[in-house]
């Protein structure tokens, strides 16, 4: 494969001389693509001279890494203690019913991915959810459709 187009090879090349770099390399791939695919993992393993099993051992242990492409907008609902006490479960339920998916799934149109995360560290703003890096504080279930529409509009404009 052409090295220029191979994300796994490039990343592997950059990190292979540094110690303790497998997780950093995986972060970098996910940062570009949004997930670490089978081909990326193979390329990375080959370039870094690590058995593929080791790469997958690490990939599947840490729940930050995704193995399949998520939706365009990744919705992370915080399930930390402060958010739990302030009723983020109702916000999560609303997301699920509005999108018709469960946590860890993407919508069939590929627009949204719903996931729950451990504390994002914005407990003062609880309950919190994060969509593609943008934080929404003091959430209510009523805000859920508003936020979803905001993103749908944004994607329409892009297209």
């Amino acid at each position: 494969m052409d090295n220029d187009a191979c994300l796994g090879c490039q990343t592997g090349d950059k990190w292979r001389r540094k110690r303790g770099s497998l997780i950093m390399a995986l972060h970098e791939i996910q940062g570009v693509k949004g997930y670490v695919g089978w081909q990326d993992a193979m390329d990375l393993a080959k370039t870094m001279n690590i058995p593929l099993a080791r790469v997958y051992e690490v990939l599947t242990f840490y729940n930050f890494f995704k193995l399949v492409a998520p939706g365009k907008a990744v919705i992370s609902v915080c399930t930390g203690t402060a958010c739990f006490l302030k009723g983020n479960d109702k916000v999560l339920e609303r997301f699920k019913s509005e999108l018709g998916i469960k946590e860890g799934e993407s919508t069939p149109d590929g627009l949204f991915h719903l996931q729950v995360v451990r504390c994002v560290g914005c407990c003062g703003l609880a309950p919190v959810c994060v969509v593609n890096g943008r934080t929404y504080g003091r959430m209510t279930p009523e805000q859920v459709p508003v936020i979803l529409n905001e993103w749908r509009e944004a994607f329409k404009e892009e297209a």
């Binding site: 303790g20 972060h27 703003l125």
Partner: protein
């Protein structure tokens, strides 16, 4: 040839600090804008741009400066902006948007700058003023958080202007490594990550192991406790303090390199830390022969990837090595065999942030805060059902009552305080009747909780304690790495029993079984995660057993 004097002057920290101080003094007005994760997500970026634009339009950029700072503490009231004009008492504004910010500039800042007279806060702005005389601010004692909220964390010169890297200079030029260890030991500083082991003792152990080829100092920034964000705020608000602490630690124990392990969920903290490290390298504070001494040191960052267990030091070490984050039995302790089998010393972010202050002001000064056995101050993330939710720092030994009712402003909406939870999923509850308990390592342990990293979650009387215990256990079961059976199987079984009780299908004997499994987990688990996972259940059972029995088929408590 480069003039050596010229070069030395350029990298001299006193010189940089003085230049910066002179520059700051030129300004009549300082506008501090909180630029931490909390306020950023409430829109502080746009406000900073707006203020700069207004200053420019009025050609006041020479008279007023905008400082994007770290966390000011009251995240729930963000975005926060503090304005200081002509050296008068500063005014803090809360919950700002573009319109109110404009009004502040037009009705408060600009007139004051032009007239140099009295500054009056217009009536329409009064609802946005947050009094700095609130107990939330006055009852705090800021040591670690001193700079957060008043300096630009991305400007190394500003850190130096506030005494930064003076402690490192003192250590490198006037103290031996042994003297540094002794000073930290004398201060009584204990690990702020939760365990509470004496930092000086740990350094002494690490220093004793001979450096054959390499020795490491590791900063544990894997703050996984839900409801806690002290380390994030310190890294975001004052990253140089942590780096300086690490460098002093490295000098004391003879480390050759340092590693920061930070959660990937904290992108802003990672970014600020990266910038700070680069600034250090540019200013020759990292690399070879630092400050012209024989001390050479370098650091690197490794990211976590969403595994709570990596807060445990041996799991963290495996994770830096690029492997699964599973713990291993100790001994050998990391101080003997750690990262890549080399001697390593693991310290928490807040612990390291304390070091430079202790060296500069002395161990006795530090020990003047706190109780007999818990010295210094502690940063807490006060969250949950409390009026002023935010980041606070108080001397050890402050009572729960002072923290929740005075600093925190009590429980809102007319509800009553039921308990405070500390230590996250490894901790327990402190019921309302124990509100006068001083917060320190020993007292918290006595009541069945732990200090933990510093999350304090306020629970009001509408909360169901069984559901809370289940919430925490759910977390630890999910985060268990699965290596040892007591944690992997015990946790799951406890969770199933709790679920049964919560659904109203439990019996009395289930409570007995819960306690039995909890006991086995505490005794037999490999690492801290499994050993402490039963704590939330045991602690709520101890103080709120009737809430459990009320849910049992055969155990309803008489009305």
């Amino acid at each position: 040839m480069v003039d050596m004097d010229e070069l030395n002057k350029r990298f001299d920290i006193h010189n940089i600090a003085n230049n910066k101080l002179a520059e700051i003094e030129k300004y009549k007005c300082h506008i501090y804008c909180c630029h931490s994760t909390g306020c950023k997500s409430s829109g502080s970026d746009d406000l900073i741009a707006l203020i700069k634009q207004i200053l420019e339009e009025n050609s006041l950029s020479e008279e007023a400066r905008v400082v994007a700072t770290g966390c000011m503490g009251l995240c729930a009231q963000g975005p926060l902006i503090r304005v200081e004009i002509n050296g008068k008492k500063d005014v803090l504004f809360k919950r700002l948007d573009a319109n109110t910010t404009k009004t502040i500039m037009e009705k408060y800042v600009l007139p004051a700058l032009k007239s140099e007279g009295e500054m009056v806060v217009a009536d329409e702005l009064k609802p946005y003023v947050l009094s700095l005389d609130l107990p939330f601010f006055t009852k705090q004692e800021k040591v670690v958080l001193k700079n957060a909220g008043s300096i630009d964390p991305e400007d190394i010169a500003e850190y130096m202007a506030h005494g930064g890297y003076l402690a490192l200079e003192k250590a490198l030029k006037t103290m031996t490594p042994q003297q540094v260890v002794e000073e930290i030991k004398k201060s009584g500083l204990r690990g702020r990550g939760g365990g509470g082991f004496s930092t000086g003792m740990k350094w002494e152990l690490a220093a004793k192991v001979p450096t054959v080829d390499e020795k490491f100092i590791i900063c544990n920034g894997d703050e996984g406790d839900p409801g806690a964000y002290m380390d994030r705020s310190i890294l975001e608000g004052d990253p140089h303090a942590v780096i300086e602490g690490m460098m002093i630690a490295a000098y004391a124990i003879g480390a050759t390199a340092g590693w920061f392990y930070v959660r990937a969920e904290y992108p802003l903290a990672v970014e600020r830390l990266q910038k700070a490290i680069q600034a250090c390298k540019r200013n020759r504070l990292l690399g070879n022969n630092i400050m012209g001494t024989n001390f050479s040191f370098n650091v690197d960052i490794r990211l976590g990837a969403g595994a709570f267990v990596c807060g445990e030091e041996t799991a963290l070490i495996h994770s830096i090595e690029g492997a699964r984050g599973t713990p291993r039995p100790r001994p050998p302790y990391p101080t003997n065999k750690g990262l890549w089998e080399k001697p390593s010393c693991v310290n928490n972010v807040e612990t390291l942030a304390n070091i430079s202050k202790i060296l500069l002001k002395g161990a006795d000064w530090f020990a003047s805060f706190g109780t007999e056995t818990s010295k210094g101050t502690k940063v807490f993330a006060l969250t949950g059902q409390v009026e002023h939710s935010g980041l606070i720092e108080v001397p050890m030994g402050t009572t729960i009552n002072e923290i929740v009712n005075e600093i925190g402003g009590g429980v809102p909406e007319g509800k009553k305080l039921k308990a405070v939870q500390s230590g996250g999923p490894s901790g327990g509850v402190i019921p309302a009747q124990h509100m006068n308990m001083p917060v320190c390592y020993e007292e918290l342990k006595k009541i069945g909780s732990i200090m933990g990293s510093g999350g304090l979650i306020v629970i009001d009387d509408s909360s169901d304690m069984v559901a809370l215990a289940k919430f925490y256990l759910d977390f630890t079961v999910d985060e268990s790495c699965g290596k040892c059976a007591p944690c992997r199987i015990g946790g799951k079984q406890m969770l199933m029993l709790l679920d049964k009780i919560n659904r109203g299908r439990g019996k009395k004997k289930d409570l007995e079984l819960l306690k039995k499994i909890a006991d086995a987990m505490k005794k037999a688990s490999l690492c801290g995660l499994g050993q402490t996972a039963p704590n939330p259940v045991l602690s709520t059972l101890r103080f709120y057993e009737d809430e459990y029995t009320n849910k049992l088929l055969d155990g309803k408590v008489k009305e």
